[in-house]
Amino acid sequence: MVTKRRVALVGARMTAGLAGIVVVVVAVGGAALAPWPAVVSEPEATLVTPVASDQTQVCPGPLLTLAADSSQADVATSVSRFDTVYGARAAGTGGAVVDVTRSDLAAVENAESARDGAPQLLTVPAGAAAQAAALVNGAQSQNAASETLGGLATSACTAADSDSWLVGGSTDVGRTSLVLLSNPSTVVATVDLTVYGETGQVDAPGSTGILVQPGTQRIISLAGLAPNLLSPVVHVQATGGQVAAALQQSVISGIQPGGAELLGPTTDAATEQVIPGVVVTPPGAEVSVDEGAVSEDTPTVRVLVPGDAPATVSVGVQSEDGASAGTSLEVVIQPGLATEIPLSGIAPGNYTVSLAGDQPLVAAALTTVTGTATRDFTWASAAAAQADEFLVYIAPGPAPALHLANTSDVDSVLTLTADGGAVTTLTVPAGQSVVTGVTESIAYLVTGGEGIAASVGYSGDGLASSYTVSPIGALVQAIPVYPR
């Protein structure tokens, strides 16, 4: 009797206990598998558009040559005059012209600046009531044909910055690379140059603490800092005042000038870089290289990963001419080593090179052109995407073309309004690029340009050059401010 009841009791307890275990396990397991809704209170930011200030841009000035006078081997002198075009439009007004003040920066290290002109400082005073910064653009060009220096060099006028990357140049035999540092501000800028080469960061005495006085330009020979570098990348960091940095590269093959180029800063290190306007021309007749070898004329992309982790970079080459031609390759790039990626086997044409890495990187592309009599090369830097409408001035030069790459994922419809009123409408499909011919020495106001990376390229007989159209300076872009 008693035992029976005990058995019944224990049985009931076991049943209830097992039921409880099942309930607990199901509850816990269900909790793990169930999708839980989330309540998220999104942080709120105030988007602050900075009060417009005086905008300044610096055009780097005339091409320079070293050692024209053998008694002063490290003194740079200019060879000839250069042309500048510039102007400004009020933002959002459809092209109302804003006055630009031009002045000269002191180029004390160029003995011939009085004759050939000095670096130009373009100033757009802040409008009284204007909240948004005016669109200002300028470019310069110079077609040099001296004994030591020949070729077309164009450059955009750029805003001063405290941190910029110059991807290009070489200090190999026959190559001259000069870093031009212009300080348009009113305070002394202290500039540190960090030079990376194909073997890593170069320990360069004298590369730090370079003082650039207000309103002057300093000319630094890269060879003096880091000789015999095939592929340097220069990181320019300024404290105090800011500097507009540019790099001038010229080549002498034997005794013949092999081209010249002025290149402005490329975009900041980022995981995505777009280089529009990489113009590949037919190789010169006299060039014959072994099958499979990399010719000097092969277009190359120079990449640096400034971080400390190797980056896997996929390089996409896409035609701007509507042709389906294009290639893509993937490379692993060691950090701190300036690496050249040859783009072999690409048919002549206009291309946009896109790089996507898992680490931030900086990049620019080098192409050469061989004409009937002369040779030239051009550095196409990575271009940053525009935020909205932008202004582009076309410096004088042979056959200028506007290269437009759409970095966004929606098709862009662009309206190009030339000075004089001619309107062109272009459609740039998402992720694609187009090229359109433009007229030299006038300005184009491009509307609907969100996500567009733009550059201007020139190609003539043995002449080539390009410059990028920088968006409005990062420092004047609106910034979200969180109050808590």
Binding site: A16, G17, A38, P43, V48, T49, V51, A474, V481, P483
Partner: protein
């Protein structure tokens, strides 16, 4: 002349007792000559019974009639008295006289003509060998004293004769005297009516005596004299009536010159007595205390009437009765006895802890060693920072200034309610008043021992076995959620983990002790203050307890009150914002975390990544993925033990524990999906660790139940579970040496030394702190003075939505400073009282456990941009790089006394009101929680309960007139009412089993030997831990009866 007795019997719904009373009346050897029956509006059979008796007069009266008024009504129907031989015998429905009672009483009045009132020995109704009351008196100050009360009658008081007064039921009084004095004072309807009457009899020159041979049984129905029931409402009403009567008599007896003094003292005394009531654990008396004081103060006409009546009949001075009063020495002796009884009751509440003999000391010692080893780097530290830790305010005054409704000095500052957590921090900081920030260091150094101690103590409520208690302590101390909170610097979560076992400890005892109930309320408030996300789960548990607590419900109802009082200012503000959910936001520094998968929480890891094993294994040559298998496997013993508890004896307790665990898990999951706060562009989810602490508490509880049920077999699984957990928790416990902990020692500064130095001169100096955000934006806040403090943090700020005008202006300034801008910054900087601009390192996005957060490219670019812009701002002079970021100085003249000063009286009326409410509620709870033993009322009730129980045990079938032959065994009378169930649990029937409210959902667990005590077949000494305590409790049966 032959005495002529008129018996007046008053009944009000008393059929249950009336039968016996009427039978006893019939059986009197000396029959009353006249019987007047007064039925006070009975709705039961009382009227029929009275009529069936055949009284001379039958009066139907109103139900609201008091005993005295009913007698007066009855006297009115009688013919006028013919002389002193006419006697009135006052009986109530529950006054059953013994057969010779009237004969003895009449004899007393006949023998001594000077005696006007004779009273019987009033016996207990159900246990008629116990004296209910026998003679009344007053102290020199006028308080009522029952000379003999609730005492076993061994004829030890039979020598008593002349007394000051007798109780109303069974009183025999000369009709002439009754008429002369006008009967009972109608202002004393229930209590002290007969005392007052007898006092007036004495002062009119007559004598009052008790007749021990005349015995009348009384059931305490509340017709004559107060209702003796121990039910909360009745007993509260009785207490109020007693106080009202005492105050009335005080005003009536006082000499005229003292009236004003007495009148003025009424309300202040009520306050004072309320505090004493709280200390006596009789919070229910407080309302009566004030009601009595106010009615005595403002209903003066009754006092005037009574004074006039007294003056008219008084022939003797007050000195004539002074010898009949109870002497001061006797009063002291009685108080001492009551106190002793109360303390015994309090002692009886204490569980059998045996801290030293059960190995608690060794457990604690081990925890201290582990704690010192783990936190050795913090020995000698002055303050901690990192994660959610910041230094506290520098002085105790500043700490308390951050409490309550008022100025919240965070960012631009605003008027609002402080987080209740600020109170917790203020208390902690006050403990280390010489350096408040040191409290956090102390918290870390003592965290592990305190956790182990708390869990050990909590487990004493469940088991007496030292090994199980020690295991519970280890399991609790090494809980991954606790160690994660320590490593990531979350002081609130650490405190929650330390306090939860104590809430359980106190909550279990709340059913039988007001003191424990008060402690539980305070702990509840502290825990909810530290982790508001736990409030829903704790409230559910509280509701379950309230429903299960039966007649002890009052001890549970108030538990959330202090938490509510503390949160009142915050609730006020969030309700105004209609942002209810934000009340759940974590107090303290908002720390963004990466999302945690639910299965990690089920394993107990609030920060995910299995506590760091995937990072640790590769260092030892393993693969990271092995951790995914290893850690769950190591936790299997714990899970199995917790689940098996449902199959073992004590499954009900274990089930409650697991319900608690599920509630905790639900809290954790819910918390991790709620992002209510934000810092910069990152949303901050509620820390799930607090919920996981509750989850872990339930699991450890279930494991303890399993271990209890497994007896000796339990040792091996317990050791295995504890060892496995120790392995699992290794990377978390070693987070500090491994370098994965966010917490670090600091000098107590949160700003560059340059700013701190300036703050010494200008305490309100403003620093604009800019933190680049992962999305490329900036977080811009103003920090005043020496820097941010943990106690100044506010969820009102971190959960705010929208931007005020002032914030927008500051944002505009900061945005322009971070850009190339044409704004004249110096004027704006001066307006905000900003002297410094500090660009802090870019905010990191949370990544996996132990690794430093990642800084996005956008944040780096913003950092560069801001540096460039600030360098280029003419209004700012660079100071240099500091440990806290890059610093600029503004030399614009600014009057920080104007710009950035704290407005005076920011809290205003709301601040004052909420502070008063909080101080009153918390103060009352603190008073209640101080263990002073039970009050007089509780002791009195304990006596009555003991008597009732004794009678029930001696008369198992029904109360018949079995006399001393079957006397009950002596029973402890000092027992507190709630402690009833502790004795002889096995012999009691379920009918009288008290509900056992379980504060933290562990029914049966705490109440040793309670009806839920498992396994009646098991030996009491080795099975149910509680049963072993029964002998210990019966030790406390020393006789503390009054009157010995």
């Amino acid at each position: 002349m032959q005495a002529r007795v008129t018996a007046i019997i008053v009944a009000r719904n008393g059929a249950a007792h009336l039968q016996r009373t009427l039978e006893a009346l019939r059986g009197q050897t000396r029959q009353p000559d006249t019987v007047v029956a007064v039925d006070c509006g009975s709705t039961d059979a009382s009227a029929e019974l009275l009529a069936a008796y055949g009284p001379t007069h039958f009066i139907s009266a109103d139900a609201s009639l008091s005993f005295g008024d009913a007698i007066k009504t009855a006297v009115r129907v009688l013919p006028d008295p013919e002389g002193d031989h006419e006697l009135l015998w006052l009986l109530a429905q529950d006054s059953a006289p013994e057969t010779r009672a009237l004969q003895k009483l009449v004899a007393e009045l006949e023998i001594a003509p000077s005696v006007a009132v004779a009273g019987p020995k009033v016996m207990e109704w159900i246990a008629d060998d116990y004296i209910h009351d026998f003679g009344l008196s007053m102290t020199p100050y006028g308080s009522t004293v029952t000379l003999v009360e609730s005492e076993l009658d061994q004829e030890q008081h039979d020598a008593l004769s002349d007394v000051l007064a007798v109780s109303a039921g069974g009183m025999l009084v000369r009709r002439t005297v009754w008429d002369l004095l006008g009967g009972f004072d109608s202002a004393l309807p229930v209590v002290d009516d007969s005392l007052d009457f007898c006092v007036r009899v004495r002062l009119a020159g007559f004598r009052v005596s008790v007749v021990s041979a005349a015995r009348v049984s009384s059931a305490g129905d509340g017709v004559a004299g107060p209702d003796g029931s121990s039910r909360g409402r009745t007993s509260r009403r009785r207490v109020r009536a007693e106080r009202s009567a005492a105050l009335h008599r005080r005003l009536v007896y006082a000499p005229t010159w003292a009236l004003a003094v007495h009148w003025l003292s009424l309300v202040p005394l009520a306050f004072l007595r309320s505090i004493i009531d709280l200390l006596r654990k009789e919070p229910g008396s407080i309302i009566g205390e004030f009601a009595a004081a106010f009615s005595a103060a403002f209903l003066g006409s009754k006092v005037r009437q009574a004074r006039r009546k007294l003056a008219a009949t008084r022939t003797l001075g007050w000195s004539s009765i002074s010898s009949l009063r109870v002497s001061a020495a006797e009063v002291r002796r009685r108080h001492a006895l009551t106190r002793e009884a109360a303390l015994t009751g309090a002692r009886g509440d204490r569980p059998e802890i045996r801290f030293f003999s059960r190995g608690g000391a060794w457990t604690l010692l081990g925890a201290v060693v582990v704690g010192v080893v783990v936190f050795a780097p913090f020995l000698g530290a002055q303050a901690l920072s990192g994660g959610g830790l910041l230094p506290l305010s520098d002085s105790v005054g500043a700490l308390w200034a951050n409490v309550g409704y008022g100025w919240r000095d965070i960012g631009l500052g605003f008027v609002g309610g402080a987080d209740p957590f600020a109170v917790v921090l203020a208390i902690l900081g006050t403990l280390t008043f010489w350096s408040p920030s040191f409290a956090m260091v102390l918290l870390y150094l003592l965290a592990l021992p305190l956790a182990a101690f708390g869990a050990w103590m909590a487990s004493t409520r469940l088991t007496h076995r030292g090994s199980i208690r020690a295991t519970a302590a280890v399991l609790w101390m090494l809980s991954p959620t606790f160690l994660t909170a320590l490593a990531t610097g979350r002081p609130a979560a650490i405190l929650v983990h330390l306090l939860l076992p104590w809430l359980f400890f106190a909550g279990i005892a709340a059913a039988r002790s007001w003191s424990a109930s008060g402690s539980a309320a305070l702990l509840f408030a502290a825990i909810v203050a530290c982790a508001p996300s736990l409030a829903p789960a704790l409230l559910i548990i509280w509701l379950l307890c309230v429903f299960a607590s039966g007649r002890r419900v009052m001890r549970f109802v108030g538990i959330p009150l202090p938490a509510l009082a503390l949160a009142l200012p915050l609730i006020w503000d969030q309700v105004l914002r209609a942002n209810w959910l934000a009340l759940l936001a974590d107090p303290g520094v908002p720390v963004p975390t990466s999302p945690v998968p639910v299965w990690q929480m089920i394993l107990g890891f609030p920060a995910g990544d299995l506590g760091g094993w995937p990072q640790l294994l590769p260092l030892w040559g393993g693969t990271a993925t092995a951790a995914d298998l290893m850690v769950p496997l190591l936790l299997v013993p714990l899970a199995v033990l917790a689940l098996v508890s449902l199959l073992l004896p004590g499954a009900r307790g274990a089930a409650s524990a697991l319900i608690g665990a599920l509630l905790g898990l639900g809290t954790a999951i819910g918390a991790s999906s709620l992002s209510l706060a934000a810092v910069g562009d990152q949303s901050v989810t509620i820390w799930p660790g607090a919920g996981l602490s509750l989850y872990w508490l339930g699991i450890v509880g279930a494991v303890v139940f399993a271990a209890r049920g497994l007896h000796k077999v339990a040792v091996a699984p317990l050791v295995a579970a504890a060892l496995a957990l120790a392995v699992v928790s290794l990377p978390l416990a070693a987070a500090l040496p491994l370098g994965t902990a966010a917490v670090q020692e600091t000098l107590g500064r949160t700003q560059p030394a340059f700013v701190t130095a300036e703050a010494l001169v200008t305490p309100r100096v403003g620093t604009l702190q800019i933190v680049p955000q992962p999305d490329g934006g900036i977080l811009a806040t103003i920090v005043r003075g020496a820097g941010e403090r943990l106690d100044a943090q506010s969820t009102l700020s971190s959960t705010a939505t929208g931007t005020t005008d002032e914030q927008a202006e500051l944002a505009t300034l900061a945005g322009n400073l971070a850009s190339q801008s044409g704004l004249d910054a110096s004027a704006e900087l001066a307006r905000f009282g900003i002297r410094f601009v500090l660009l802090r390192p870019a905010a990191q996005t949370p990544t996996e456990w132990g690794a430093a957060g990642a800084v996005t490219t956008a944040a780096t670019q913003t950092s560069t941009r801001t540096t460039t812009s600030l360098d280029g701002t003419a209004a700012l002079v660079p100071v240099g790089d500091t440990a806290f970021g890059r610093l600029w100085r503004s030399d614009a003249q600014t009057d920080v006394a104007v710009n950035g000063a704290i407005p005076a009286d920011a809290g205003g009326v709301v601040g004052l009101l909420t502070t008063i409410v909080a101080v009153l509620v918390i103060g009352a709870t603190v008073l209640l929680s101080i263990p002073t033993g039970a009050g007089r009322e509780a002791v009195y009730q304990a006596h009555r309960d003991a008597i009732r129980r004794a009678s029930r045990m001696s008369k198992p079938v029904k109360p018949t007139k079995v006399r001393r032959s079957s006397r009950a065994p002596r029973v402890p009378r000092s027992e507190r009412p709630g402690a009833k169930s502790k004795t002889k649990a096995g012999t009691r029937t379920t009918a009288d089993a008290k509900p056992t409210p379980q504060p933290t959902s562990k029914p049966g667990a705490p109440e040793p030997g309670a009806p839920t005590a498992p396994e009646p077949t098991a030996g009491p000494d080795r099975q149910a831990p509680g049963v072993t305590t029964a002998p210990a409790r019966t030790d406390s049966t020393e006789d503390t009866d009054n009157g010995h």
